[in-house]
């Protein structure tokens, strides 16, 4: 589903260069549920941005669903994000001025789907996350867990091949966290690939596989016991 080989990403300022990803390689199989962990600054967000085509990268190759996405135009990347990738963000990233229905509708409109199909998809997706009765509620009228479920409905409505989740339970209490993880597991169970960036070992434990990053590289968990173990624990407290 997702194959990165020797991907490099460097952030430059006038004074310094930061190698956010160095010779980064990773393979995620279709329908896999992978948790990406690592201490702050290890390159998790950069990996997510590159994997989600939110950011470009300097070197290496990246195959997404079998397609080389290394040298795509901005419009092509937008189309792939819209059609193949679903994002779940830590802060939900709902549009505050749009109600639940319109929020879920946002990526579908960019896809240019007809109104009737969009309506059908939105209602079905909101039904799956249990929010059919909140169509005209604004995000501010929902709890954090409900907002994240709307964000997941937004992903579901688009029926993506890959879901990239960035700390999806980072702003939720433990009950809500379980609910959202159950939901993600359920979605994964239907064959959607999920890559979830998280600090939480509990969340990571729900994934099929855990990947640890350090200094912009995938590292073996057992090879760096101290840092890799302490950091997630500290974050989970």
């Amino acid at each position: 589903m997702l194959t990165m080989r020797d991907v490099r990403k460097v952030y430059r300022t006038d004074l310094i260069e930061t190698h956010a990803l160095s010779d980064f390689s990773l393979h995620v199989r279709p329908a896999e549920f992978v948790a990406v962990m690592g201490p702050s600054g290890s390159g998790k967000t950069t990996f997510l941005n590159v994997a989600g085509l939110l950011d470009t990268f300097e070197g290496g190759t990246y195959l997404l669903d079998g397609q080389d996405v290394s040298r795509l135009s901005d419009d092509q990347m937008s189309r792939i994000r819209n059609q193949k990738i679903g994002f779940v963000f830590q802060s939900f990233n709902l549009i505050p001025d749009l109600d639940v229905f319109d929020n879920v509708d946002v990526p579908l409109r960019y896809r240019g789907l007809p109104a009737a199909e969009r309506k059908d998809r939105i209602e079905r997706a909101l039904g799956l996350v249990g929010l059919s009765s909140r169509l005209r509620h604004l995000p501010s009228q929902l709890s954090g867990g409900q907002q994240q479920r709307v964000a997941i409905a937004r992903v579901l409505a688009g029926d993506p091949r890959l879901i990239l989740a960035d700390e999806p339970t980072g702003n939720l209490d433990s009950l809500m966290t379980r609910e959202i993880l159950d939901l993600l597991e359920e979605i994964n169970g239907r064959g959607t690939t999920i890559v979830m960036v998280t600090h939480s070992p509990e969340c990571a434990a729900r994934a099929h596989r855990q990947i640890h990053l350090l200094d912009g590289k995938v590292v073996d968990f057992d090879a760096v016991p101290t840092l890799a173990r302490e950091e997630p624990l500290a974050a989970a407290r």
Partner: protein
């Protein structure tokens, strides 16, 4: 295009968008009316009087020598002045009349068709001599000009009439009626007599004195306080006196007005230096008359430009604020698949809706304001094409004002979506 969600989102930010809608509406209402008034003023400035304005020179002779108090001396001096003026190089014609175009006024009276009990009809009225029409550069459309004899005769008769109290009849009007030949404008003739032939028709004034039409001129426009700009009656008489002096209108050869104006004072003082002279070309008189209108026009143009500028800046401000406030949101939209042009279109559409609502309200406001102006201060009537131009202007201003911040928004990276604030 996601018009529905944009509209629904705007409804949730009523104050912010409402202020810009109001600003656009007020701008359109004020700008449209300002432009209507500017156009009206400009149209008045290029209005053709029917006279040879470019080549007219006005001379006002005001005596201080006591000798001018005597009628005979005045008459002789007037004749000498006219002879001298008519023989001046570059002069085509000269006349003694109190009619002076482009003063914004003159003298007026009320008349009606003789023997009728209808409404009295106000008209401008001026004395003239046998050379007045020629000096103005106006041709007779019908009838004849005044003769020298008529002018001499009526000058004496009118002088006598002024000296002696008239005997009144039981109706409170002078018993003996006075009859004069007059030349009238066609517009006034139509007003008084409709489509009937004008020559030979008689008018009467409030004293019952009669005026027989012997000549008709077609083109006459002299702005007046009342809306009688095209109505005029000329009667034969000399205009001279010790207190009010003697006014002359000179028509020069084409392009000679300035040269004649410079030479005329020396010429007339050589004839008689017991008076003061004031010489003005018609261009100067017109410039004085249109001075306030030109100033108001300039001020209104400035106000118009400033208003459009302020409104545009308001739109720039609103859009810039929206972009700054929604940076993360734009990043999210980009992450969800929005292309740069989708973001650009989003802001342009949002602004288009605001501007359109503004101009819709503005159209109603503009007509309401215009109704008030036309009713209260005789403002210019607002016409649809002008308003349509105003709508286009504001649409364009709105579009251009939104473009820079909207382009900035379209360049926001989708990676901003994952940045936790």
């Amino acid at each position: 295009m996601e018009m529905g969600p944009i509209l629904r989102a705007m409804r949730r930010n009523k104050v912010r968008f409402g202020l810009i809608v109001t600003e656009v509406a007020l701008t359109l209402a004020i700008v449209a009316n300002c432009v209507a008034m500017i156009r009206d003023a400009r149209a008045a400035m290029v209005r053709v009087s029917g006279f040879d304005d470019e080549n007219l020179v006005n001379v006002r002779s005001t005596p201080f020598e006591k000798a001018f108090k005597e009628d005979g001396y005045l008459d002789n001096a007037l004749d000498a002045d006219l002879r001298s003026l008519r023989s001046m190089p570059g002069v085509r014609a000269a006349t003694n009349t109190r009619f002076l175009p482009w003063q914004g006024g003159g003298s007026s009276t009320e008349m009606r068709p003789a023997g009728t009990k209808g409404e009295m009809l106000r008209t401008q009225i001026y004395n003239g001599d046998e050379g007045t029409l020629d000096a103005l550069g106006v041709g007779l459309a019908e009838g004849r000009n005044f003769t020298r004899e008529e002018v001499d005769r009526d000058t004496v008769r009118l002088r006598e009439l002024g000296r002696n109290a008239r005997e009144m009849g039981p109706d409170g009007l002078p018993r003996e009626k006075f009859l004069q030949e007059v030349i009238i404008t066609r517009a006034y003739g139509r007003l008084a007599f409709g489509d009937n032939p004008l020559l030979g028709q008689q008018l009467e004034d409030s004293d019952g004195d009669l005026y027989r039409v012997v000549g008709v001129i077609d083109h006459f426009y002299n702005p007046y306080g009342w809306p009688i700009h095209e109505y005029a009656v000329f009667f034969p008489n000399r205009a001279r006196g010790y207190e009010f002096g003697s006014p002359f209108l000179i028509r020069t050869e084409p392009g000679q007005a300035l040269a004649v104006a410079k030479a005329v004072e020396e010429r007339l003082l050589a004839v008689n230096n017991g008076r003061n002279l004031r010489v003005q070309t018609m261009d100067e008189i017109k410039a004085q008359y249109f001075g306030p209108q030109r100033l108001v026009s300039t001020l209104m143009s400035t106000v118009t430009v400033l208003l459009v500028l302020v409104t545009s800046l308001g739109i720039v401000g609103l859009t810039s604020f929206s972009v700054a406030e929604r940076t993360r949101q734009i990043g999210t939209r980009r992450a969800l698949g929005a292309r740069r042009r989708d973001v650009l279109q989003h802001f342009l559409a949002e602004n288009w809706i605001v501007t359109t609502l503004g101009v819709a309200v503005g159209v109603v406001l503009a007509f309401a304001l215009n109704f008030g102006l036309v009713t209260v201060v005789e403002g210019a009537k607002l016409r649809w094409p002008l308003l349509a131009a105003g709508v286009l202007l504001l649409w364009l201003a709105g579009l251009l004002s939104t473009l820079a911040p909207a382009l900035r928004a379209s360049r926001i990276s989708p990676a901003l979506a994952t940045r936790n604030v």
